[in-house]
């Protein structure tokens, strides 16, 4: 048995915490709107990353992210080969793939990113309206703008992560694989900045366009189909018009071109449009490649800004209508 002094000393120390279950009035402090917005974004961010979700969502998400990582590895390998045979240096200012970072967001992995947008954005935007949960959120001390800010933060955060993680992995692999990693990093700091900026730009741009489409329906299936369908249709129409007219005006039809051209400009790369010369004369159809020079970057900036503003207006209008009902 312990001496009394020792026992009283032990009793004075915290050995654990006993919680009494049952309702008690809350005496602590209440935090502000920023806390509410961040809480909402955090919960939605976790949801978008598949945390606490069913296996179907997790499977879809991780397959798509896995493909992006594989593409990053392929890009690393092919770029190593082009550098070894000396093609990269000659064509850096012209051929987008010579700079693996520039080509990363809108080449082979473009469609994978679109599928990821279609998976994540409708899930975060449609379900709250479909199940009536939006009403409960707005019965809290937050406004509709706070709610939308939380959603935007979650979507842009997750999209930035899935866009940038494979690209940054590629950058890291190239830096570590270089003869002098320090020198490589110093020489490609501009690329790193352009990579981060363009990742954020893509995330915001596609979040708003996809968000506007998702706000038009409560069905996640319709929204997902709408997002992928619109982006594919815009690309098909833009490419077809370009093939037949050879006019750069066609680049403004393709929604992915708007942001793609801004990104190339961030990397300091001129990204011309290669199309085919299709003519129908006297029954012959000669097919030859044609290079179309794009507009100056400010034209794409203005067009992208218009698309983003229009999307924001659609989202605001749809949600305001939902709340007023």
């Amino acid at each position: 048995m312990s001496p009394p002094d020792e026992r009283s000393e032990r009793a004075g120390q915290a050995q654990g915490v006993i919680y009494q279950q049952g309702y008690r009035h809350y005496r602590g402090r209440y935090l502000g709107r920023l806390h509410a917005v961040v809480s909402l974004a955090w919960a939605d961010g976790k949801r978008a990353l598949g945390i606490g979700r069913g296996w179907k969502y997790k499977l879809g998400f991780f397959i798509l992210v896995g493909i992006l990582l594989i593409i990053a590895l392929i890009a690393f390998g092919t770029n190593a080969v082009t550098e070894r045979i000396g093609a990269g240096g000659q064509s850096r200012s012209f051929y987008p793939f010579a700079n693996p970072y520039n080509g990363f967001f809108d080449s082979a992995n473009g469609i994978i990113l679109w599928l990821l947008f279609a998976l994540i954005i409708p899930d975060l935007l449609c379900n709250d309206r479909r199940y009536g949960t939006l009403r409960l959120y707005l019965a809290r001390p937050i406004s509709l703008s706070d709610y939308l800010a939380g959603k935007a933060l979650a979507i842009v955060g997750v999209l930035s992560a899935v866009l940038l993680a494979p690209a940054l992995l590629l950058f890291l692999a190239k830096a570590l694989g270089a003869v002098q990693p320090g020198a490589y990093l110093a020489a490609h700091l501009g690329d790193l900045g352009a990579l981060l900026l363009s990742g954020l730009l893509f995330a915001v741009y596609y979040a708003l366009i996809s968000g506007a489409l998702a706000s038009l329906t409560k069905s996640t299936g319709y929204a997902a189909a709408g997002i992928v369908g619109l982006l594919i249709a815009a690309r098909l129409v833009g490419s077809t018009v370009l093939a037949f007219t050879h006019r750069r005006m066609a680049t403004l039809i393709d929604l992915s071109q708007l942001v793609g051209q801004i990104k190339s400009s961030l990397f300091g790369v001129n990204q011309p449009l290669i199309t085919l010369n299709i003519q129908f004369q006297n029954g012959s159809q000669p097919v030859t490649p044609v290079i179309v020079q794009p507009y100056p970057v400010w034209v794409y900036l203005l067009a992208a800004l218009a698309a983003v503003l229009l999307s924001a207006l659609v989202i605001g209008w749809r949600y305001r209508r939902e709340v007023d009902r």
């Binding site: 919680y19 279950q21 309702y23 809350y26 602590g28 402090r29 606490g52 009403r135 019965a139 001390p141």
Partner: protein, 304 residues
């Protein structure tokens, strides 16, 4: 606690609420009305979720049109319709709602746990809400309304879709929230028994207007129309004395009912008892049920 002045709401020319003026003290308030009477619109206006077309309203001394966010920190809301995401557990959802109301992370978890136990969902709190029964979903909706420790909860048809035993438990729970936790409540329902069971004040809405409002006992008392008596002694003589005094008497044996409930009727009863030498064992003013009052209001509404 709730004050409104000429509060009106119109949707594209349709009047949902028309010039509602009332003043209600803290307590348990019943909001009664048929479907389409304007109950949900009234609640949404009180939460600051809708802007009034005209007039004003104050809840907990806060202007609903200008101080909606401050107000919603102190008010909980349980909507009538489905509003729970099916793939999230009640625990996670209630804690999230707490955080949105400003509770820090740990406090939100602790309080979510506490309120889920309070509403009887302690065992099922980690199950996805899509798999809960309708009664359990109603409890989860009540839990999220209470998580941030509100001073007032607005309950929109809380027993909707529940079986009789579930309804009974829910009403008991709501009664305890008022009596044991001191939280005021506004219970909107078209079920008269629910209001009668839980509330001490009532607001009756009809076609967007206040048809009647006040303490339940007063409203029912005003509508009293007879007095029940239990007697011992010469009942026949007593009955005769009352009839001679011009009163209408029904009943048989030792139990009688006298029509009318004003002071003159009471005086006549006491005088008749003295004359006939009967003992008055019980004298009780028969009040109308809320249902009778509601039907009477509807009749007078229809006559107008």
């Amino acid at each position: 606690m709730i004050q409104t002045r000429d509060l009106s709401k119109r949707y594209n020319g349709t009047v949902a609420l028309d010039g509602v003026s009332l003043q209600v003290a803290p307590g348990s308030i019943g909001l009664l009305g048929e479907n389409g009477a304007g109950k949900t619109t009234f609640i949404k206006l009180l939460l600051g979720l809708l802007q009034p077309s005209s007039g004003s309203a104050r809840v907990l001394s806060l202007d609903v049109a200008r101080q909606g966010r401050k107000l919603r920190r102190r008010v909980g809301y349980m909507p009538e319709d489905e509003c729970l995401p099916p793939d999230i557990s009640a625990m996670e959802f209630t804690a999230r709602m707490g955080r949105l109301s400003g509770l820090p992370h740990e406090a939100a978890l602790q309080r979510a746990n506490d309120v889920l136990h309070l509403v009887g969902l302690g065992e099922g709190r980690y199950r996805p809400m899509g798999g809960l029964s309708s009664g359990m979903k109603q409890r989860a909706k009540l839990a999220q309304a209470l998580v941030a420790d509100p001073e007032l909860v607005l309950l929109d048809e809380p027993t909707s879709g529940m079986d009789p035993s579930g309804r009974e438990e829910m009403l008991q729970l709501i009664g305890e929230i008022r009596e044991n936790l001191g939280i005021s409540l506004l219970l909107s329902s078209h079920l008269l028994q629910d209001i009668e069971r839980v509330c001490d004040q009532v607001i009756i809405l009809s076609a967007g207007q206040v048809a009647a409002q006040g303490p339940l006992s007063q409203l029912l008392g005003q509508a009293a129309r007879s007095v029940h008596l239990r007697l011992v002694g010469d009942v026949q003589a007593f009955r005769q004395a009352l009839t001679q005094a011009g009163l209408s008497v029904h009943g048989s044996g030792m139990q009688l009912t006298v029509e009318g409930a004003d002071d003159q009727v009471y005086d006549a009863i006491i005088e008749a008892a003295a004359q006939s030498g009967v003992q008055l064992r019980r004298l009780e003013r028969a009040s109308r049920s809320l249902e009778e009052l509601f039907l009477a209001l509807r009749k007078s509404e229809a006559r107008r």
